[in-house]
Protein backbone atom coordinates (compact mmCIF):
# COMPACT_ATOMS: atom_id res chain seq x y z
CA UNK A 1 0.00 0.00 0.00
CA UNK A 2 1.21 3.47 -0.79
CA UNK A 3 2.13 5.46 2.31
CA UNK A 4 2.30 8.71 0.40
CA UNK A 5 0.12 9.42 -2.63
CA UNK A 6 0.81 12.48 -4.70
CA UNK A 7 -1.79 13.04 -7.38
CA UNK A 8 -1.84 15.81 -9.98
CA UNK A 9 -0.14 18.37 -7.76
CA UNK A 10 0.34 21.80 -9.33
CA UNK A 11 1.71 25.01 -7.89
CA UNK A 12 2.87 28.25 -9.45
CA UNK A 13 4.62 31.29 -8.01
CA UNK A 14 3.39 34.52 -9.62
CA UNK A 15 3.06 32.93 -13.02
CA UNK A 16 6.08 30.66 -12.80
CA UNK A 17 4.83 27.10 -12.86
CA UNK A 18 6.87 25.28 -10.27
CA UNK A 19 4.92 22.02 -10.31
CA UNK A 20 2.68 20.77 -13.10
CA UNK A 21 0.38 17.80 -12.50
CA UNK A 22 2.95 15.79 -10.63
CA UNK A 23 1.77 12.34 -9.56
CA UNK A 24 3.54 9.40 -7.98
CA UNK A 25 3.29 7.09 -4.98
CA UNK A 26 5.75 6.23 -2.28
CA UNK A 27 5.22 2.68 -1.09
CA UNK A 28 5.46 1.88 2.60
CA UNK A 29 9.01 0.80 3.36
CA UNK A 30 10.30 2.22 0.10
CA UNK A 31 13.22 4.51 -0.59
CA UNK A 32 12.29 6.86 -3.39
CA UNK A 33 14.74 9.27 -4.96
CA UNK A 34 13.57 12.58 -6.38
CA UNK A 35 16.02 13.86 -8.97
CA UNK A 36 16.15 16.53 -11.63
CA UNK A 37 18.14 19.57 -12.66
CA UNK A 38 18.23 22.70 -10.48
CA UNK A 39 14.89 24.48 -10.45
CA UNK A 40 13.01 21.35 -11.40
CA UNK A 41 10.66 21.76 -8.43
CA UNK A 42 12.02 19.05 -6.15
CA UNK A 43 12.27 21.13 -2.98
CA UNK A 44 8.96 22.78 -3.82
CA UNK A 45 7.33 19.38 -3.85
CA UNK A 46 8.93 18.50 -0.50
CA UNK A 47 7.60 21.77 0.89
CA UNK A 48 4.13 20.82 -0.35
CA UNK A 49 4.33 17.47 1.41
CA UNK A 50 5.40 19.10 4.67
CA UNK A 51 2.64 21.69 4.19
CA UNK A 52 4.95 24.69 4.08
CA UNK A 53 3.40 25.33 0.67
CA UNK A 54 -0.14 24.55 -0.34
CA UNK A 55 -0.69 23.07 -3.81
CA UNK A 56 -3.15 24.97 -5.99
CA UNK A 57 -4.40 21.78 -7.56
CA UNK A 58 -4.16 18.12 -6.81
CA UNK A 59 -3.97 16.17 -3.64
CA UNK A 60 -1.39 14.77 -1.29
CA UNK A 61 -2.47 11.88 0.91
CA UNK A 62 -0.44 10.41 3.72
CA UNK A 63 -1.52 7.15 5.30
CA UNK A 64 -4.86 7.62 3.53
CA UNK A 65 -5.30 11.09 5.01
CA UNK A 66 -5.62 14.20 2.86
CA UNK A 67 -3.04 16.77 3.89
CA UNK A 68 -4.90 19.70 2.31
CA UNK A 69 -6.03 21.23 5.60
CA UNK A 70 -2.99 20.33 7.64
CA UNK A 71 -0.64 22.88 9.15
CA UNK A 72 3.04 22.13 8.99
CA UNK A 73 3.31 21.27 12.67
CA UNK A 74 0.41 18.82 12.34
CA UNK A 75 2.14 17.06 9.48
CA UNK A 76 5.11 16.56 11.75
CA UNK A 77 2.84 15.10 14.40
CA UNK A 78 1.36 12.68 11.83
CA UNK A 79 4.79 11.18 11.40
CA UNK A 80 6.37 13.07 8.53
CA UNK A 81 9.76 14.54 9.39
CA UNK A 82 12.25 16.26 7.18
CA UNK A 83 15.63 17.85 6.79
CA UNK A 84 16.35 20.98 4.82
CA UNK A 85 18.65 21.78 1.95
CA UNK A 86 20.20 24.71 3.82
CA UNK A 87 19.85 23.32 7.33
CA UNK A 88 17.18 24.65 9.63
CA UNK A 89 18.64 24.19 13.09
CA UNK A 90 18.25 25.89 16.46
CA UNK A 91 21.71 27.27 16.06
CA UNK A 92 22.32 28.80 19.50
CA UNK A 93 21.01 25.70 21.24
CA UNK A 94 23.07 22.63 22.09
CA UNK A 95 22.98 19.44 20.07
CA UNK A 96 21.02 17.71 22.82
CA UNK A 97 18.51 20.55 22.97
CA UNK A 98 18.00 20.37 19.19
CA UNK A 99 17.23 16.67 19.38
CA UNK A 100 15.07 17.06 22.49
CA UNK A 101 12.99 19.72 20.76
CA UNK A 102 12.45 17.22 17.95
CA UNK A 103 10.44 15.05 20.31
CA UNK A 104 9.28 17.54 22.93
CA UNK A 105 5.76 17.82 21.57
CA UNK A 106 5.14 14.16 22.42
CA UNK A 107 6.16 14.74 26.01
CA UNK A 108 3.90 17.64 26.74
CA UNK A 109 2.47 18.05 30.20
CA UNK A 110 -0.29 20.42 31.33
CA UNK A 111 0.77 24.06 31.33
CA UNK A 112 0.01 24.59 35.02
CA UNK A 113 2.27 21.68 35.89
CA UNK A 114 5.04 23.34 33.91
CA UNK A 115 4.54 26.71 35.63
CA UNK A 116 4.91 25.14 39.06
CA UNK A 117 7.43 22.51 37.98
CA UNK A 118 5.28 19.68 39.32
CA UNK A 119 6.75 16.17 39.50
CA UNK A 120 4.62 15.08 36.54
CA UNK A 121 6.16 17.75 34.34
CA UNK A 122 9.66 16.96 35.61
CA UNK A 123 9.14 13.28 34.80
CA UNK A 124 8.12 14.20 31.26
CA UNK A 125 11.26 16.28 30.84
CA UNK A 126 13.43 13.47 32.11
CA UNK A 127 11.76 10.98 29.78
CA UNK A 128 12.34 13.25 26.79
CA UNK A 129 15.95 13.80 27.83
CA UNK A 130 16.55 10.05 28.12
CA UNK A 131 15.04 9.46 24.73
CA UNK A 132 17.16 12.23 23.23
CA UNK A 133 20.29 10.75 24.76
CA UNK A 134 19.44 7.39 23.24
CA UNK A 135 19.05 8.95 19.80
CA UNK A 136 22.30 10.89 20.22
CA UNK A 137 24.08 7.66 21.01
CA UNK A 138 22.78 5.79 17.98
CA UNK A 139 23.64 8.75 15.77
CA UNK A 140 27.15 8.98 17.22
CA UNK A 141 26.56 12.47 18.58
CA UNK A 142 26.96 11.82 22.31
CA UNK A 143 30.40 13.42 22.40
CA UNK A 144 29.15 16.74 21.10
CA UNK A 145 25.80 16.70 22.93
CA UNK A 146 26.51 19.84 24.96
CA UNK A 147 28.07 21.93 22.20
CA UNK A 148 26.02 24.66 20.51
CA UNK A 149 25.13 23.51 17.01
CA UNK A 150 26.55 26.65 15.40
CA UNK A 151 30.04 25.66 16.57
CA UNK A 152 29.99 22.31 14.78
CA UNK A 153 31.38 21.63 11.29
CA UNK A 154 28.87 21.40 8.46
CA UNK A 155 28.80 17.62 8.23
CA UNK A 156 27.99 17.22 11.91
CA UNK A 157 25.31 19.87 11.67
CA UNK A 158 23.64 17.76 9.00
CA UNK A 159 23.83 14.75 11.30
CA UNK A 160 22.17 16.77 14.06
CA UNK A 161 19.35 17.74 11.74
CA UNK A 162 18.86 14.11 10.80
CA UNK A 163 18.99 13.01 14.43
CA UNK A 164 16.35 15.61 15.27
CA UNK A 165 14.11 14.32 12.48
CA UNK A 166 14.59 10.73 13.65
CA UNK A 167 14.01 11.54 17.30
CA UNK A 168 10.26 11.20 16.99
CA UNK A 169 10.32 7.86 15.13
CA UNK A 170 8.75 9.17 11.93
CA UNK A 171 6.93 6.98 9.42
CA UNK A 172 8.10 9.04 6.49
CA UNK A 173 11.39 10.87 6.28
CA UNK A 174 11.93 13.60 3.70
CA UNK A 175 15.58 14.32 3.04
CA UNK A 176 16.59 17.33 0.99
CA UNK A 177 20.06 16.62 -0.38
CA UNK A 178 21.45 14.63 2.55
CA UNK A 179 24.82 14.18 0.82
CA UNK A 180 25.30 17.75 -0.39
CA UNK A 181 28.69 19.17 0.54
CA UNK A 182 30.07 15.79 1.57
CA UNK A 183 33.12 13.94 0.31
CA UNK A 184 32.70 10.50 -1.32
CA UNK A 185 33.35 8.65 1.89
CA UNK A 186 30.80 10.71 3.82
CA UNK A 187 28.31 10.23 0.98
CA UNK A 188 28.71 6.47 1.25
CA UNK A 189 28.05 6.77 4.95
CA UNK A 190 24.86 8.74 4.24
CA UNK A 191 23.72 6.06 1.79
CA UNK A 192 24.36 3.38 4.37
CA UNK A 193 22.48 5.30 7.05
CA UNK A 194 19.42 5.73 4.83
CA UNK A 195 19.36 2.02 4.04
CA UNK A 196 19.72 1.14 7.70
CA UNK A 197 16.83 3.44 8.63
CA UNK A 198 14.60 1.61 6.20
CA UNK A 199 15.82 -1.92 6.90
CA UNK A 200 16.04 -1.73 10.67
CA UNK A 201 13.57 0.96 11.68
CA UNK A 202 11.08 0.55 8.84
CA UNK A 203 11.16 4.23 7.94
CA UNK A 204 9.95 5.13 4.47
CA UNK A 205 12.24 7.65 2.78
CA UNK A 206 11.74 10.20 0.05
CA UNK A 207 15.00 11.93 -0.77
CA UNK A 208 16.25 14.61 -3.09
CA UNK A 209 19.81 14.07 -4.17
CA UNK A 210 22.24 15.24 -6.82
CA UNK A 211 24.90 12.67 -6.03
CA UNK A 212 23.94 9.94 -8.51
CA UNK A 213 26.02 7.30 -6.76
CA UNK A 214 23.92 7.76 -3.65
CA UNK A 215 20.69 7.71 -5.64
CA UNK A 216 21.64 4.63 -7.63
CA UNK A 217 22.84 2.61 -4.66
CA UNK A 218 20.16 3.45 -2.16
CA UNK A 219 16.86 4.06 -3.95
CA UNK A 220 14.51 1.38 -5.13
CA UNK A 221 12.52 3.85 -7.19
CA UNK A 222 13.45 7.14 -8.75
CA UNK A 223 11.18 9.97 -9.86
CA UNK A 224 12.58 12.55 -12.28
CA UNK A 225 11.32 16.13 -12.39
CA UNK A 226 12.18 18.77 -14.95
CA UNK A 227 10.63 22.25 -15.13
CA UNK A 228 7.97 21.15 -12.68
CA UNK A 229 6.90 18.10 -14.65
CA UNK A 230 7.50 14.46 -14.00
CA UNK A 231 9.47 13.18 -16.95
CA UNK A 232 10.38 9.75 -15.71
CA UNK A 233 9.82 7.17 -13.02
CA UNK A 234 11.11 3.68 -12.43
CA UNK A 235 13.96 1.71 -10.98
CA UNK A 236 17.35 3.46 -10.97
CA UNK A 237 18.47 1.37 -13.94
CA UNK A 238 15.33 2.17 -15.97
CA UNK A 239 15.55 5.85 -15.24
CA UNK A 240 19.19 5.99 -16.25
CA UNK A 241 18.29 4.65 -19.70
CA UNK A 242 15.19 6.77 -20.31
CA UNK A 243 15.74 9.21 -23.21
CA UNK A 244 13.71 11.99 -21.63
CA UNK A 245 15.88 11.87 -18.52
CA UNK A 246 19.12 11.89 -20.47
CA UNK A 247 17.84 14.83 -22.46
CA UNK A 248 16.96 16.81 -19.36
CA UNK A 249 20.36 16.24 -17.84
CA UNK A 250 22.63 16.38 -20.87
CA UNK A 251 20.68 18.30 -23.49
CA UNK A 252 19.68 17.03 -26.96
CA UNK A 253 23.14 15.84 -27.92
CA UNK A 254 23.10 13.32 -25.10
CA UNK A 255 20.19 11.42 -26.66
CA UNK A 256 21.82 11.00 -30.04
CA UNK A 257 25.30 10.37 -28.81
Amino acid sequence: MALLEISKVSLSFSGLRALIDVSFDVAEGGIVGLIGPNGAGKSTLLNCISCLYRPENGQIRFDGRNLADCKSHQVAALGIRRTFQNLELFREASVRENVTLGLAYRYRSPLLGEFFDLPSSRAMRRAAEDEANRILKTCGLSEVANIPVSELPYGLQKSVELARALASHPKLLLLDEPAAGMNPEESRHVAKTVRRLRDEDGITVLLIEHDMRVVMTVCDRVVVLDHGEKIGEGSPAEVRRAPAVIKAYLGDEGVHA
Partner: protein, 317 residues
Protein backbone atom coordinates in the same frame (compact mmCIF):
# COMPACT_ATOMS: atom_id res chain seq x y z
CA UNK B 1 34.45 24.81 46.71
CA UNK B 2 31.22 23.08 45.78
CA UNK B 3 29.01 26.15 45.68
CA UNK B 4 28.66 27.67 42.25
CA UNK B 5 28.64 31.35 41.54
CA UNK B 6 24.98 31.46 40.48
CA UNK B 7 23.73 30.10 43.79
CA UNK B 8 25.94 32.49 45.72
CA UNK B 9 24.75 35.36 43.54
CA UNK B 10 21.09 34.44 44.09
CA UNK B 11 21.50 34.19 47.88
CA UNK B 12 23.37 37.48 47.94
CA UNK B 13 20.68 39.24 45.92
CA UNK B 14 17.99 37.82 48.17
CA UNK B 15 19.75 39.01 51.33
CA UNK B 16 20.16 42.47 49.86
CA UNK B 17 16.49 42.59 48.84
CA UNK B 18 15.35 41.58 52.32
CA UNK B 19 17.67 43.99 54.08
CA UNK B 20 17.24 46.93 51.75
CA UNK B 21 14.37 48.79 53.47
CA UNK B 22 16.12 49.04 56.85
CA UNK B 23 17.37 52.51 57.55
CA UNK B 24 15.20 54.06 54.85
CA UNK B 25 12.24 56.35 55.35
CA UNK B 26 8.75 56.33 53.89
CA UNK B 27 9.91 57.68 50.57
CA UNK B 28 12.59 55.00 50.37
CA UNK B 29 9.97 52.31 50.99
CA UNK B 30 7.85 53.74 48.23
CA UNK B 31 10.75 53.69 45.76
CA UNK B 32 11.61 50.11 46.68
CA UNK B 33 7.99 49.11 46.18
CA UNK B 34 8.00 50.61 42.69
CA UNK B 35 11.20 48.73 41.89
CA UNK B 36 9.41 45.46 42.61
CA UNK B 37 6.37 46.51 40.61
CA UNK B 38 8.46 47.50 37.59
CA UNK B 39 10.57 44.35 37.92
CA UNK B 40 7.45 42.24 37.49
CA UNK B 41 6.74 44.04 34.22
CA UNK B 42 10.35 43.41 33.25
CA UNK B 43 9.82 39.70 33.91
CA UNK B 44 6.86 39.79 31.58
CA UNK B 45 9.17 41.05 28.83
CA UNK B 46 11.61 38.26 29.63
CA UNK B 47 8.85 35.90 28.56
CA UNK B 48 7.47 37.87 25.63
CA UNK B 49 10.65 39.21 24.02
CA UNK B 50 13.43 37.19 25.60
CA UNK B 51 11.82 33.81 25.02
CA UNK B 52 9.14 34.52 22.44
CA UNK B 53 10.92 37.06 20.25
CA UNK B 54 7.70 39.12 20.08
CA UNK B 55 7.46 42.85 20.65
CA UNK B 56 4.97 45.04 22.44
CA UNK B 57 4.78 48.75 22.98
CA UNK B 58 1.35 48.35 24.45
CA UNK B 59 2.12 47.00 27.88
CA UNK B 60 0.74 50.12 29.55
CA UNK B 61 -2.61 48.77 28.33
CA UNK B 62 -2.23 45.53 30.29
CA UNK B 63 -0.91 47.48 33.25
CA UNK B 64 -3.98 49.72 33.19
CA UNK B 65 -6.36 46.79 32.83
CA UNK B 66 -4.79 45.07 35.83
CA UNK B 67 -4.88 48.24 37.91
CA UNK B 68 -8.50 49.11 37.13
CA UNK B 69 -9.81 45.54 37.33
CA UNK B 70 -8.28 45.10 40.75
CA UNK B 71 -9.25 48.51 42.08
CA UNK B 72 -12.83 48.25 40.84
CA UNK B 73 -13.34 44.75 42.17
CA UNK B 74 -12.07 45.81 45.58
CA UNK B 75 -13.99 49.11 45.68
CA UNK B 76 -17.26 48.13 44.01
CA UNK B 77 -17.51 44.41 44.66
CA UNK B 78 -15.75 44.26 48.00
CA UNK B 79 -13.16 41.72 46.87
CA UNK B 80 -10.23 41.16 49.21
CA UNK B 81 -6.93 42.64 48.03
CA UNK B 82 -5.27 39.42 46.86
CA UNK B 83 -8.34 38.28 44.93
CA UNK B 84 -8.50 41.69 43.28
CA UNK B 85 -4.87 41.45 42.23
CA UNK B 86 -5.47 37.98 40.80
CA UNK B 87 -8.49 39.30 38.90
CA UNK B 88 -6.33 42.13 37.56
CA UNK B 89 -3.92 39.55 36.17
CA UNK B 90 -6.71 37.47 34.68
CA UNK B 91 -8.45 40.40 32.96
CA UNK B 92 -5.13 41.50 31.46
CA UNK B 93 -4.41 37.91 30.39
CA UNK B 94 -7.72 37.73 28.51
CA UNK B 95 -6.76 40.83 26.59
CA UNK B 96 -3.31 39.31 26.10
CA UNK B 97 -4.92 36.49 24.15
CA UNK B 98 -6.68 39.10 22.03
CA UNK B 99 -3.48 41.02 21.32
CA UNK B 100 -1.77 37.76 20.37
CA UNK B 101 -4.09 37.47 17.38
CA UNK B 102 -2.38 40.13 15.25
CA UNK B 103 0.98 38.65 16.33
CA UNK B 104 0.00 35.45 14.53
CA UNK B 105 -0.13 37.41 11.30
CA UNK B 106 2.33 40.28 11.55
CA UNK B 107 5.76 40.77 13.07
CA UNK B 108 8.22 43.53 13.86
CA UNK B 109 7.10 47.10 13.19
CA UNK B 110 3.56 46.10 12.34
CA UNK B 111 3.12 44.18 15.55
CA UNK B 112 4.62 47.11 17.46
CA UNK B 113 2.04 49.44 15.94
CA UNK B 114 -0.81 47.02 16.62
CA UNK B 115 0.15 46.77 20.30
CA UNK B 116 0.56 50.52 20.48
CA UNK B 117 -2.95 50.92 19.11
CA UNK B 118 -4.24 48.54 21.73
CA UNK B 119 -2.71 50.54 24.60
CA UNK B 120 -4.12 53.84 23.29
CA UNK B 121 -7.51 52.21 22.85
CA UNK B 122 -7.54 50.89 26.43
CA UNK B 123 -6.45 54.24 27.84
CA UNK B 124 -9.17 56.07 25.90
CA UNK B 125 -11.92 53.64 26.85
CA UNK B 126 -11.00 53.82 30.53
CA UNK B 127 -11.03 57.60 30.30
CA UNK B 128 -14.43 57.81 28.61
CA UNK B 129 -16.16 55.16 30.71
CA UNK B 130 -16.79 57.70 33.40
CA UNK B 131 -19.43 56.06 35.60
CA UNK B 132 -17.18 53.05 36.08
CA UNK B 133 -13.68 54.43 36.20
CA UNK B 134 -14.28 57.96 37.38
CA UNK B 135 -12.93 59.28 34.09
CA UNK B 136 -11.13 62.58 34.62
CA UNK B 137 -11.48 62.49 38.40
CA UNK B 138 -9.99 59.05 38.62
CA UNK B 139 -10.56 56.42 41.23
CA UNK B 140 -9.50 56.05 44.83
CA UNK B 141 -7.94 52.70 45.67
CA UNK B 142 -7.80 51.36 49.21
CA UNK B 143 -4.54 50.30 50.83
CA UNK B 144 -3.54 46.69 50.37
CA UNK B 145 -4.81 44.35 53.07
CA UNK B 146 -3.84 40.80 53.88
CA UNK B 147 -6.39 38.60 55.67
CA UNK B 148 -8.28 41.62 56.88
CA UNK B 149 -5.21 43.48 58.15
CA UNK B 150 -4.52 46.68 56.29
CA UNK B 151 -0.88 47.30 55.39
CA UNK B 152 -0.52 50.89 56.52
CA UNK B 153 3.11 51.30 55.59
CA UNK B 154 4.92 50.74 52.33
CA UNK B 155 7.55 49.02 54.45
CA UNK B 156 5.36 45.95 54.90
CA UNK B 157 3.85 46.29 51.43
CA UNK B 158 7.38 46.10 50.02
CA UNK B 159 7.74 42.58 51.42
CA UNK B 160 4.43 41.52 49.89
CA UNK B 161 5.66 42.83 46.55
CA UNK B 162 9.02 41.13 46.98
CA UNK B 163 7.26 37.82 47.64
CA UNK B 164 5.08 38.42 44.60
CA UNK B 165 8.14 39.09 42.44
CA UNK B 166 9.91 35.98 43.73
CA UNK B 167 6.91 33.76 43.00
CA UNK B 168 6.56 35.13 39.46
CA UNK B 169 10.32 34.90 38.91
CA UNK B 170 10.16 31.29 40.04
CA UNK B 171 7.34 30.60 37.58
CA UNK B 172 9.30 32.31 34.82
CA UNK B 173 12.30 30.11 35.57
CA UNK B 174 10.15 26.97 35.53
CA UNK B 175 8.60 28.04 32.27
CA UNK B 176 12.02 28.64 30.72
CA UNK B 177 13.05 25.05 31.33
CA UNK B 178 9.66 23.51 30.52
CA UNK B 179 8.93 21.97 27.14
CA UNK B 180 6.45 24.71 26.34
CA UNK B 181 8.98 27.43 27.18
CA UNK B 182 11.73 25.78 25.22
CA UNK B 183 9.40 25.25 22.28
CA UNK B 184 8.67 28.96 22.40
CA UNK B 185 12.40 29.71 22.26
CA UNK B 186 12.76 27.20 19.43
CA UNK B 187 10.17 29.14 17.44
CA UNK B 188 12.20 32.29 17.99
CA UNK B 189 15.38 30.63 16.74
CA UNK B 190 13.79 29.10 13.64
CA UNK B 191 10.06 29.03 13.03
CA UNK B 192 10.35 26.60 10.14
CA UNK B 193 12.51 24.17 12.09
CA UNK B 194 10.22 24.36 15.11
CA UNK B 195 7.08 23.74 13.08
CA UNK B 196 8.74 20.82 11.33
CA UNK B 197 9.34 19.43 14.82
CA UNK B 198 5.61 19.48 15.50
CA UNK B 199 5.61 22.70 17.54
CA UNK B 200 2.44 24.73 17.01
CA UNK B 201 3.36 28.37 16.54
CA UNK B 202 -0.06 29.86 17.26
CA UNK B 203 -0.42 28.05 20.58
CA UNK B 204 2.96 29.18 21.83
CA UNK B 205 2.67 32.80 20.72
CA UNK B 206 -0.69 33.03 22.47
CA UNK B 207 0.76 31.50 25.64
CA UNK B 208 3.61 34.04 25.56
CA UNK B 209 1.23 36.99 25.25
CA UNK B 210 -1.20 35.68 27.85
CA UNK B 211 1.57 35.02 30.34
CA UNK B 212 3.21 38.37 29.72
CA UNK B 213 -0.10 40.20 30.00
CA UNK B 214 -0.95 38.31 33.19
CA UNK B 215 2.31 39.36 34.85
CA UNK B 216 1.87 42.95 33.75
CA UNK B 217 -1.75 42.93 34.92
CA UNK B 218 -0.64 41.72 38.36
CA UNK B 219 1.96 44.46 38.43
CA UNK B 220 -0.60 47.11 37.48
CA UNK B 221 -2.97 45.88 40.17
CA UNK B 222 -0.23 46.08 42.79
CA UNK B 223 0.71 49.54 41.58
CA UNK B 224 -2.83 50.82 41.94
CA UNK B 225 -2.90 49.83 45.59
CA UNK B 226 0.46 51.50 46.13
CA UNK B 227 -0.58 54.79 44.52
CA UNK B 228 -3.95 54.93 46.24
CA UNK B 229 -5.40 56.78 43.28
CA UNK B 230 -5.77 55.86 39.63
CA UNK B 231 -6.12 58.11 36.65
CA UNK B 232 -5.68 57.21 33.02
CA UNK B 233 -2.72 59.59 32.63
CA UNK B 234 -0.68 57.04 34.55
CA UNK B 235 -0.96 54.64 31.62
CA UNK B 236 0.28 56.72 28.73
CA UNK B 237 2.32 55.78 25.70
CA UNK B 238 5.43 57.04 27.50
CA UNK B 239 4.93 54.32 30.12
CA UNK B 240 4.77 51.62 27.46
CA UNK B 241 8.01 52.90 25.99
CA UNK B 242 9.83 53.19 29.30
CA UNK B 243 8.76 49.62 30.15
CA UNK B 244 10.32 48.38 26.96
CA UNK B 245 13.46 50.44 27.60
CA UNK B 246 13.84 49.18 31.15
CA UNK B 247 13.47 45.55 30.06
CA UNK B 248 16.13 45.92 27.37
CA UNK B 249 18.53 47.81 29.63
CA UNK B 250 18.13 45.35 32.50
CA UNK B 251 18.48 42.28 30.31
CA UNK B 252 15.83 40.25 28.50
CA UNK B 253 17.23 36.84 29.26
CA UNK B 254 17.66 37.02 33.00
CA UNK B 255 15.46 37.30 36.05
CA UNK B 256 18.15 39.23 37.88
CA UNK B 257 18.24 41.45 34.79
CA UNK B 258 14.52 42.07 35.24
CA UNK B 259 15.25 43.27 38.75
CA UNK B 260 18.01 45.53 37.51
CA UNK B 261 15.68 46.93 34.85
CA UNK B 262 13.06 47.66 37.49
CA UNK B 263 15.66 49.40 39.65
CA UNK B 264 16.80 51.45 36.68
CA UNK B 265 13.31 52.66 35.85
CA UNK B 266 12.50 53.49 39.47
CA UNK B 267 15.81 55.12 40.39
CA UNK B 268 16.96 56.92 37.26
CA UNK B 269 14.28 59.62 37.45
CA UNK B 270 15.16 60.16 41.13
CA UNK B 271 18.88 60.45 40.49
CA UNK B 272 18.49 62.57 37.37
CA UNK B 273 15.71 64.78 38.75
CA UNK B 274 17.88 67.92 38.51
CA UNK B 275 18.25 67.49 34.77
CA UNK B 276 14.51 67.91 34.15
CA UNK B 277 13.71 67.35 30.47
CA UNK B 278 17.32 66.59 29.62
CA UNK B 279 16.69 63.25 31.37
CA UNK B 280 15.24 61.95 28.14
CA UNK B 281 18.61 62.38 26.46
CA UNK B 282 20.26 60.22 29.10
CA UNK B 283 17.59 57.52 28.72
CA UNK B 284 17.97 57.51 24.98
CA UNK B 285 21.76 57.36 25.09
CA UNK B 286 21.72 54.58 27.73
CA UNK B 287 19.36 52.55 25.58
CA UNK B 288 21.49 52.98 22.45
CA UNK B 289 24.69 52.13 24.32
CA UNK B 290 23.04 49.07 25.79
CA UNK B 291 21.72 47.77 22.49
CA UNK B 292 25.06 48.46 20.83
CA UNK B 293 27.52 47.18 23.41
CA UNK B 294 25.53 45.14 25.93
CA UNK B 295 22.88 43.16 24.07
CA UNK B 296 22.47 41.05 27.22
CA UNK B 297 21.61 44.18 29.22
CA UNK B 298 23.24 45.58 32.35
CA UNK B 299 23.01 42.19 34.00
CA UNK B 300 25.53 40.74 31.54
CA UNK B 301 28.02 43.36 32.75
CA UNK B 302 27.33 42.45 36.37
CA UNK B 303 27.79 38.78 35.56
CA UNK B 304 31.08 39.44 33.82
CA UNK B 305 32.41 41.39 36.80
CA UNK B 306 31.10 38.75 39.19
CA UNK B 307 32.88 35.97 37.28
CA UNK B 308 36.12 37.95 37.18
CA UNK B 309 36.02 38.59 40.94
CA UNK B 310 35.15 34.94 41.54
CA UNK B 311 38.09 33.75 39.48
CA UNK B 312 40.64 36.05 41.11
CA UNK B 313 39.45 35.13 44.60
CA UNK B 314 39.54 31.48 43.61
CA UNK B 315 43.05 31.88 42.30
CA UNK B 316 44.16 33.65 45.50
CA UNK B 317 42.80 31.00 47.85
Amino acid sequence: MTLDIRTIGAVLVLLILVGLPFGLGNYGYYILATIMIYSIVSLSFNVLIGMGGQISIGHAGFWALGAYASALSVVKLGFPFLLGVALGGIVAALFGALVALPALRVQGHYLAIATLGFALFIQQVLFEWEWLTGGRQGLFVPRPALFGVELQSDFSYYYVLLAMFLVLAWITGNFAKSHTGRSLMALRMSTIAAESCGIARARHIIIAFVMSAFFTGISGALYGHLLGHLSTETFSLAVSLSFLTMAVIGGLHSRAGALLGGAYLALAPEILRELKDAQMVIYGVTLILCVQFLPGGLISLVEKIGRAVWRTSDGAS
